[in-house]
């Protein structure tokens, strides 16, 4: 059976060039970058070169680039680190959106339990954060705003530059700093990561989402951002993220980011054409379903649907049996009994949100694969609907 991977938003295969670039750091240049000897110096040199390459892409200073474990650890460090520093100055106001990844939402929930005031911004039915509401919620007590660059479930791109400009204006008005963080995990193969253009102060990335290895991430922290470490144990990573640096992973991540960012245009055009073909085919051939997310202001790789009268996990398992990998925001895949918080925030009723499926394409997706999915999916949905009682 042909296996079709349409879950690129979950993780991506590593670029062959990245595997090659990492090779010598496992057994030859395996040193600890904190050691003074030759082995250590080789490792340090590789890391600092990687940092410069990343900084070049983000359009920032190398000292503003921190290497972490994953996007989740970057998010935790950004949010907890800024909140703890703010607490010392007596500030407790935080703002985020209702559709963030759990790495962000759960961190804010922790802070909320510890006395911080957190505002969770609404989104419209297409999944766009309400900037007007943000303007109302930001006040003198606000110290951090965190809004994702693009939503990983439905693909809606958020107005990051607009939020950046708004916060700049507010800062001048209030005469104090409001730091702006974005989780950019979903976008590196498709959108610009220029932090000056975006107007962000902190930005999280994870290598495995853009053709790099798993287990390594980036946190950009603009100079002047007041942030404290949240883990302790030495001066590695500028003291903000202590622990022996993962040299092969960091080197591989820098290479992957270069490759991904140098090809955003061609990858985007290719993927979008196939994604649109998938959307058109599914909407045409499957009754009672609709696309979720913004119709145009969306990532080129994501096609997310709601199929009425079917449960998402059942669709996912049947597709898997046909060799097709997708993902679902249904309650059944999340471990609790409520469906995707993103779909609910967009106003999709619970009984419909249970029937959600996300297909995410990537640089290696072929037309043949999309044709096959468009052929198989209607039958899967029809089968499952025929199993269901009439309500």
């Amino acid at each position: 059976m042909k296996r079709i991977y349409l879950d690129w938003a979950a993780t991506t295969p590593v670029f062959p060039e990245v595997v090659e670039e990492m090779a010598r750091f496992w057994r030859v240049d395996f040193g600890n970058a904190s050691s003074l000897h030759r082995w250590g110096r080789e490792a340090r040199k590789a890391i600092e070169e990687a940092r410069e390459r990343v900084a070049g892409i983000l359009n920032c200073q190398p000292e503003e680039v921190y290497f972490t474990g994953t996007t989740t650890t970057s998010d935790n460090l950004a949010i907890l680190g800024v909140a703890r520093a703010a607490e010392r100055e007596g500030k407790t106001g935080l703002v985020t959106s209702q559709i963030e990844h759990h790495a962000v939402l759960d961190t804010f929930k922790q802070l909320e339990n510890n006395g911080f005031e957190v505002n969770y911004l609404r989104v419209d039915k297409e999944g766009v954060v309400d900037v007007k509401e943000l303007e109302e919620k930001v006040d003198l007590n606000t110290v951090l705003v965190s809004v994702m660059y693009a939503n990983n479930e439905v693909g809606t791109i958020q107005p990051i530059e607009e939020i950046g400009r708004l916060l700049k204006k507010k800062q001048e008005e209030f005469g104090n700093r409001i730091f702006f963080h974005t989780d950019a995990a979903a976008v590196a193969e498709y959108l610009s990561l220029d932090v000056q253009k975006l107007g962000v102060d902190l930005m999280s990335l994870g290598a495995h989402k853009f053709g790099g290895p798993k287990g390594v991430g980036i946190l950009f922290v603009r100079k002047g951002v007041r942030i404290l470490p949240i883990t302790f144990g030495g001066h590695h990573g500028g003291g903000l993220w202590p622990g022996t640096e993962a040299v092969p992973l960091i080197v591989g991540m820098a290479k992957a980011l270069e490759l991904a960012q140098s090809r955003t245009k061609e990858t985007g055009v290719k993927v979008k054409r196939l994604r649109d073909k998938l959307i058109e085919g599914v909407l045409k051939r499957v009754p009672d379903c609709y696309l979720t997310g913004h119709p145009s202001q969306r990532l080129p790789d994501i096609a997310s649907f709601v199929f009425k009268g079917v449960e998402g996990e059942a669709i996912l398992l049947r597709l898997d049996d046909e060799g097709i990998a997708a993902s679902s925001g249904s309650a059944c895949t999340s471990g609790d009994l409520r469906p995707s918080h993103v779909l609910l925030a967009m106003g999709i009723p619970e009984e419909e949100a249970h029937g959600s499926i996300r297909f995410s394409l990537g640089r290696e997706t072929s037309e043949e694969e999309i044709d096959l999915v468009v052929e198989v999916l209607p039958k899967v949905i029809d089968d499952l609907r025929r199993m269901a009682p009439k309500i």
Binding site: A314, G335, P389
Partner: protein, 134 residues
């Protein structure tokens, strides 16, 4: 997610090849449990036969809207009660259903509860109708 949170082969078998699926025209007892807001709805139909004085499940069918576990638990529950005496079938427990499937992930145990409830309610529905007739 650890491996014991994934589905057993038996669950996948019943999910992909559900037994006794469909409607049962002229059923003697019918029950629907769950609701679409929670994502699971199960409907069980039974046909009751008689061997001497003893009533038994002559035929049973189910229809389910739900996840893999919801479909698999309803499928195996129908298999477990088919041909059984009514007095035995009504004693079916969610643990027995889960065990028959080789276990369920903790988050999916509620599906086995729903399946047991559907069977019990279908039998109750039959008994209620039988009382009304007599």
């Amino acid at each position: 997610m650890s491996i014991n949170k994934l589905y057993s082969e038996k669950v996948m078998d019943h999910f992909l090849h559900p037994r006794n699926m469909g409607e049962l025209p002229n059923a003697d007892g019918v029950a629907t449990v769950g609701n679409p807001v929670c994502g699971d709805v199960m409907k069980v139909y039974i046909k009751v036969g008689k061997k001497g004085e003893e009533e038994y499940i002559e035929d049973v069918k189910f229809q389910t809207l739900g996840c893999g576990a919801a479909i698999a638990t309803s499928s195996i529950a129908t298999e477990m009660i088919k041909g059984k005496k009514l007095s035995e079938a009504v004693e079916i427990t969610n643990q027995a259903i889960a065990e028959a499937l080789g276990g369920l992930p903790p988050a999916k145990m509620h599906c086995s509860v729903l399946a047991a409830e559907a069977v019990k309610k279908a039998i109750e529905n039959y008994k209620k109708q039988a009382r009304q007739k007599s």
